[in-house]
Amino acid sequence: MNTYKLNINNKEVEVEAVPDMPLLWILRDHLELTGTKFGCGAGVCGACTVLINNEAVRSCLMKVSACINKKIISIEGLSENGTHPVQVAWNEENVPQCGYCQSGQIMAVVGLLNANKQPTEEEINETMNQIYCRCGTYHRIKKAINNAISSINK
């Protein structure tokens, strides 16, 4: 077990963990930040997506030892109160059904738009094809993404 100093949601925290422990479980079990979800543990479903240095990363595959000196933002730290343009778009389009995958969906879109404010449809598809929703909110996710793109490019 090692001690790791991590920067999570603009706060410095210290955790004791083995080097291989994925960031997902640091967030969920050590810090009780359960907004980031476990869906598959293999980087397939995207429910665990967080931002590391503004890039979307699958926290279930990110070892804690690789997380030092990085700015980590989880869904809880994305905005004060749901005010990030992607969250606003999500609320306007009434995207969620059960809501379980939605943190990951939102963080993935934020990461995409952080990298590219005007992605093409193909670029959006490439990112979003790797995040699953079983309730089938894809139709509304598409609208929310387009809505968010308009909003951030005003």
Binding site: M1, V18, M21, P22, L24, W25, R28, D29, H30, E32, T34, G35, T36, K37, F38, G39, C40, G41, A42, V44, C45, A47, S74, I75, E76, L78, S79, N81, G82, Q87, W90, N91, N94, P96, Q97, C98, G99, Y100, C101, Q102, S103, I106, N125, M128, N129, Q130, I131, Y132, C133, R134, C135, G136, T137, Y138, H139, R140, I141, K142
Partner: protein, 719 residues
């Protein structure tokens, strides 16, 4: 049981110091600030009951929706009054939440309003008939004075609950029919929602289970010497499986200080299993068996209607076709999980359960706790689709918890969730139709074969029928002779209800076949169906009521909106399908337009859904369910499949089980029939007709799919 009342007794609140709130029944509580807390017994799993059901209460209460707060009702607080589904008002499934709760919720809101009005009338010294309620306040229609519900709480709490109430007319509805945002939408978007998997109990530990790979096997021995080396390891425990109804597999569980440590340590277990005799079964062999057995007479007759006895089928006046569907997983994104804590003879669990009372009874039966010593704490569910009807994962958690003196959370890994659950039955269909010399369809035979739910859940079940995953009495076409039969075929794999149940499984065959018969008779598939539906009387078959006219109306609406009667664009083809959904007072049809871009290669241009579910509580919620139903149904027809080799499920992840992806979701339109009929349930009616409508479009293009998922027949699609 705080706050629980029987009708007729005075409301609580009156005897509390300072009178804190008014709670005339289990459904709602109003505090002195006017906050209206509405308790929802049905389980929220994305279908929106946490919004639609409170809307019904709030409507009759004449609350201001902005004053409403929604809470999950604690298990056991709702009276065990007769519910349409199962035995408990918490039971959630079968699309019954709205139709089953409609009347009781209206009465609950109306009773509370009547008491608030009476309280105001008493305060003003006027008659209740001289008062009006609106947006959380009572108005004195004589002098226009206003008293808010918050101000009336203490007076209302002193009044007896009325036995008779007056309900509003539909035309006076102010909340029902509107589209308030989902009551926990903000929480979802900001990551605050707590699903079962998110619950934290002080002192809790975590477990991961390695199960016998074959159902019905037993443990011989295990070696956890490597597991012990994982930091955080606490101990290894083993437990025996159970028989029906849950068929829990025997397991070896590692308990550790974190979910991940438990999962890592479990991977290092070395275990010897006795797999039992039924460890060589496969879905390939199963479907061969289906095909063979389908040629024989059905083992059981399910439904028979014979108004033209003696009608003869010959090779020239009849047609036979077969179709099939695979085992299907639920694959909710939240893998199943449960926290359990055992203290002596008491047991407490936390998690998401669609049938909490079945869970309580089964835990009592399988784990030996007295029912009154079992407490269930209900949480939000990250995707149900029928998975959480069963409590197998809770039984496992309890068996583990009895072997440690801490609360322990069992979380299934994704491969566990994919491999060890109970699947939508594999199914096969042989249909035959015959027609007279004028080209009228006279006779319809449907032999349904499947791996039934009933025999594995309640062994000894005979004549497996509705909701056993067997045959289905849903049939809406007015054909003179109809014969439905069923044959059960076994496989050593667990089966259960998946969204759409046997209705969806059978509609694929029925709506594909009617289309094929129309083709044989050179009739337009839309007109051919309509002539068998329009103007036909409502019919009840094996207890299931349906109205053929409503089946026709949704079909016409879908066809109209896709442009069925317009000329087709080059290489564009359309297909339709329609149905009535089992006991839900709901009907739906889909129309699909595809562009053919090669042999068996297509692009879906548009899918139109048309629904009749009577009065719609929340139109946005309805649309969300129908959009989701398209995604669910499309994934099924295109690519979802569970395969079995040596009695083991082969799939592991959400990409080899192949869920529908974002880009594969086509343009969709949802249309509805405007109706004031009693509200129906929308959770499942949006699934069944997606697949056959697509296949009928492909048939129009010259290709008739018979095997689901159709990728097995070489179909390819592009976005």
């Amino acid at each position: 049981m705080l706050g629980f009342l029987l009708p007729g007794l005075p409301a609580t609140g009156q005897n509390l110091p300072g009178c804190e709130f008014f709670q005339p029944n289990v459904y709602l509580r109003i505090d002195k600030k006017g906050l209206v807390t509405i308790f929802v017994a049905r389980q929220e799993m994305g279908q929106g009951v946490n919004t639609s059901l409170p809307m019904i209460v709030a409507e009759e209460l004449d609350a201001d929706w902005k004053d409403v707060k929604v809470e999950i009702a604690e298990h056991g607080t709702f009276p065990l009054a007769k519910a349409i589904f199962g035995e408990s008002p918490h039971d959630t499934g079968g699309s019954q939440s709205i139709p089953g709760s409609w009347n009781e919720l209206r009465k609950a809101g109306a009773a509370a309003k009547a008491m608030l009005i009476e309280a105001a009338a008493n305060q003003w010294g006027i008659k209740p008939s001289q008062c009006a309620a609106d947006k959380g306040a009572v108005v004195n229609t004589v002098n226009m004075a206003v008293l808010t519900y918050g101000e009336l709480v203490c007076r209302a709490a002193e009044l007896p609950v009325p036995k008779e109430v007056t309900l509003k007319s539909v035309k006076d509805f102010k909340i029902i029919g509107k589209e308030p945002k989902k009551s926990n939408q903000k929480d979802i978007i900001t990551g605050k929602t707590k699903f079962g998997i998110d619950i934290k109990i002080p002192g809790m530990v975590y477990a991961s289970v390695e199960r016998c790979p074959v159902m019905g096997g037993t443990l011989i021995s295990f070696d956890d010497s490597e597991s012990k080396k994982i930091p955080g390891f606490i101990k290894t425990v083993k437990y025996e499986g159970t028989g029906s109804p849950m068929n829990v597999y025997p397991g070896v569980a590692v308990i550790a200080t974190s979910t991940w440590a438990a999962m890592q340590a479990r991977k290092l277990l070395k275990i010897k299993w006795n797999e039992g005799a039924k460890n060589k079964e496969s879905t390939v062999a199963l479907f061969k068996s289906f095909a063979e057995k389908s040629k024989a007479k059905p083992a059981v007759s399910v439904f028979k209607k014979e108004t033209k006895p003696g009608f003869k089928l010959t090779p020239s006046n009849s047609y036979t076709a077969t179709y099939s569907g695979p085992l299907l997983a639920h694959a909710a994104i939240e893998p199943v999980n449960c926290i359990a804590e055992v203290n002596g003879d008491k047991c407490e669990i936390w998690g998401g359960f669609q049938l909490p009372d079945w869970a309580l009874n089964t835990i009592s039966q399988d784990c030996g706790f007295k029912k009154e010593n079992i407490k269930i704490n209900l949480s939000l569910i990250g995707g149900g689709f029928g998975r959480r009807l069963r409590c197998d994962f809770a039984i496992e958690a309890v068996k583990i918890a009895r072997q440690i003196d801490k609360p322990v959370q069992l979380v299934w890994s994704r491969p566990d969730d994919m491999k060890f659950e109970a699947y939508r039955p594999a199914n096969y269909h042989r249909l035959k139709a015959g027609w007279d010399t004028k080209g009228n369809i006279i006779e319809w035979h449907h032999h349904v074969l499947s791996t039934p739910i009933a025999t594995v859940t309640w062994p000894g079940s005979k004549n497996v029928n509705e909701n056993g995953g067997g045959a289905d009495s849903e049939f809406w076409y007015d054909i003179p002779n109809v014969y439905t039969g069923y044959t059960a075929v076994e496989i050593n794999i667990n089966r259960s209800w998946v969204r759409g149940v046997e209705n969806a499984q059978n509609v694929f065959a029925m709506e594909s076949f009617i289309d094929e018969v129309a083709g044989k008779l050179k009739k337009d598939p839309l007109q051919f169906r309509l002539q068998l539906l329009e103007g036909k009387q409502p019919v009840t078959i094996n207890g299931m009521y349906k109205e053929p006219q409503r089946v026709a109306d949704v079909l016409k609406l879908a066809a109209e909106k896709i442009g069925w009667n317009q000329s087709r664009k080059k290489n564009h083809f359309m297909g339709v399908a329609t149905h009535s959904y089992l006991g839900t007072k709901a009907y739906a049809a889909h129309a699909v337009e595809i562009e053919l871009i090669g042999a068996k290669k297509f692009r879906i241009k548009k899918i139109v859904a048309a629904i009749d579910c009577g009065l719609i509580i929340n139109p946005d919620g309805m649309r969300n369910q129908m959009e989701g139903g398209i995604a669910f149904g499309l994934g099924q027809v295109l690519k979802n499949e569970i395969t079995v080799i040596n009695s083991r499920v082969q799939e592991n992840q959400l990409d080899d089980y192949e869920l529908l992806t974002y880009a594969e979701m086509p343009d969709v339109e949802i249309h509805h029939i405007k109706s004031e009929a009693d509200p129906g349930g929308v959770g499942e009616v949006g699934v069944a007709t997606v697949g056959p409508a697509l296949c009928n479009a492909l048939a129009a293009a010259g290709y008739r799919p018979r095997t689901q998922p159709i990728k097995k027949e070489g179909y390819k699609w592009v976005v």
